[in-house]
């Protein structure tokens, strides 16, 4: 069984985010990007399934960008068998991104696609159902826990309050992964360097991206500060508040 994991970078939210001169997009000049944390869980779940013998091959896939090569080499260092970079386009939203991955998945072939369940920048929607819709494959989102038997997968989908729904899904399928069975592993820098020297990244044209979502951003701004919190100067002040609220 072959699992393909699309990987995407998102702005590191630890950074101070600013709006660019257009007033409609993030100023990406000085901010750091990192792997979407849910994509990291998707990759981990795929590698765990391979290590357990349920999957034979894990393929990491990413659209070309500044950090794409490093992200793909890191995926191999963690345990992916192959890396594919999609070239020749610049997807502008989740629909075009979904189209790029769907095009490449059509030629790569897959039994399962694991996407991160969501992304902090997906105004236009979650990648998983979009890719699934283009591929005509079934899709379950918010999945934590995948097991495989024969031609189908059994997945646990999280609801609120700790409840879960269990579903059986025919493959090929797309799953939006919320959390892997264990925390995503780290790859040591030395191993990533070694992979960079020995492994190669296959390049595939991303093909026709379609017309996109059909909606565009009118404006972007940090949320207006309301009255907000009363800021306390020191621990003495904090203790006063705790006394006042009857905590101590």
């Amino acid at each position: 069984m072959k699992i393909v994991v699309p990987l995407n970078q998102v702005p590191d939210l630890v950074e101070d985010l600013e709006v660019d001169a257009s007033g409609k997009a993030l100023d990406t000049e000085d901010i750091k990007f990192k792997l979407n944390e849910f994509d990291d869980h998707a990759l981990e779940e795929a590698i765990l399934l391979k290590e357990s013998g349920a999957a034979d091959e894990v393929v990491a896939m990413a659209v070309e960008s500044d950090g794409a090569d490093k992200m793909l080499f890191t995926a191999i260092a963690k345990g992916a068998d192959k890396a594919v970079k999609l070239t020749g386009g610049n997807p502008g939203d989740s629909h075009q991104l979904g189209k790029a991955f769907a095009n490449a998945l059509g030629s790569e072939g897959f039994d399962m696609v694991f996407t991160g369940v969501q992304s902090v920048d997906d105004r236009d929607g979650q990648l998983g159902p979009i890719v699934a819709s283009y591929l005509g494959a079934p899709c379950v989102s918010v999945v934590s826990g995948v097991s495989v038997s024969g031609g189908s997968a059994v997945v646990h989908k999280e609801y609120s309050g700790g409840m879960m729904g269990e579903f059986e899904v025919d493959m090929p399928a797309v799953l939006g992964i919320q959390a892997a069975k264990q925390a995503p592993r780290y790859a040591p820098v030395s191993k990533i360097r070694q992979v960079q020297e020995t492994a190669s990244i296959e390049e595939v044209s991303m093909g026709d991206l379609g017309s996109g979502s059909g909606s565009s951003v009118a404006s972007m701004a940090p949320p207006a500060k309301g009255s907000g919190a009363e800021m306390l100067d020191d621990v003495e002040d904090l203790i006063e508040v705790l006394k006042d609220k009857g905590v101590i």
């Binding site: 993030l26 699934a132 269990e166 059986e168 905590v247």
Partner: protein
């Protein structure tokens, strides 16, 4: 202007709050923009249409009471195809995520996610999305049919809770190819703590940095006779158990005092704790969105503050 469809959500025979939150807003929008506010129900939930008095009428697609990503999305797609609404409101929830983009992509409609506010604007709607973990508000103007994924807690549920007797239209919907089959509902494991009943919660987030450092928060909880809670990343990292998780996929809590340590305040977390009577946030990032919902804040290193606090109190 076309109608506004609200895709209702239910679990174990009860409409979820998100249903009423969307209905209240949909009724308001329809009042300004024209068109009707229409609730779409699944399975036998049309039997409870009397709770959906905010809707002008109800479309019942029938089918199973158990949510199924494939059959529920197929049914919604049939209704949207047939009715050509101007707006489809879906929860930005676990169930909504399986419906919204499946339908929107198949029907070539735009989706707008993370909706925190909506208003009628010109011949369409203006939608504000809370993105980048709540650090940016992004406005999209939609004109023509669109799907909006509404954040839980964005609108007041009480506004949409009104009894009535909306008429029910039985709609014969598609149910998909049976590629996804519901097996069972799994209840949460019994836990040693029920944080929904706690008076005081000390909640830790990603800012705690490592599993070992949770001990410090435990010390504070002990001194304050509080229970320990956490945000999602700590559960995903395997540092704390699910029973302690506050937020969208965790517990909704409303203690008298909620002390947030190193929690940035992503919308998914805020959803679970904003009803707390008093919120105290300690976070080294002075721009963290948590300070917008907190009543008291300290933009300091949480370790310095908590160590000093524990020392003083002991």
């Amino acid at each position: 202007m076309g109608d506004i469809l609200v895709i209702t959500e239910h679990l174990k025979g009860e409409f979820q709050d998100i249903t009423f939150e969307m209905l209240g807003k949909a009724k308001e929008l329809a009042g300004v923009a024209g068109g009707q506010c229409v609730a779409v129900t699944f399975g036998s939930m049309s039997g409870k249409a009397g709770e959906l008095g905010a809707a002008d009428f109800v479309i019942s697609v029938g089918g199973s009471d158990d949510f199924n990503p494939e059959s529920y999305a197929s049914a919604v797609q049939s209704v949207v195809s047939a009715k050509s609404p101007s707006l489809v409101m879906v929860g930005s929830t676990s169930m909504g995520m399986d419906i919204a983009n499946s339908v929107a992509t198949a029907l070539n409609m735009p989706t707008v996610s993370y909706c925190a506010d909506m208003s009628a604007s010109g011949s369409g709607f203006s939608v504000t999305s809370s993105m980048y973990g709540g650090k940016m508000n992004v406005v999209t103007n939609v004109d023509g049919s669109a799907v909006a994924m509404v954040l839980a807690g964005a609108f007041n549920a009480e506004t949409g809770k009104s009894a009535g007797s909306p008429s029910v239209e039985d709609f014969s919907a598609e149910s998909g190819d049976g590629k996804i089959r519901f097996k069972q509902l799994i209840e949460p494991e019994a836990a040693d703590v029920d944080i929904t009943q706690s008076d005081i919660l000390v909640a830790v987030g990603r800012g705690i940095g490592s599993k070992d450092d949770i001990e410090l928060a435990e010390e504070l909880a002990e001194v304050l006779d509080a229970d320990l809670a956490c945000s999602r990343p700590l559960v995903d990292a395997g540092w704390m158990s699910k029973a302690h998780q506050v937020g969208k996929s965790g517990m909704k809590v409303k203690p008298k005092v909620y002390i947030a340590l190193g929690i940035s305040g992503a919308p998914e977390h805020i959803e679970g704790m904003k009803s707390s009577s008093t919120i105290i946030a300690i976070n080294s990032d002075k721009n963290a969105p948590i300070f917008d919902v907190a009543h008291y804040g300290m933009a300091e290193d949480l370790f310095d503050v908590v160590e000093e606090l524990v020392e003083e109190l002991e």
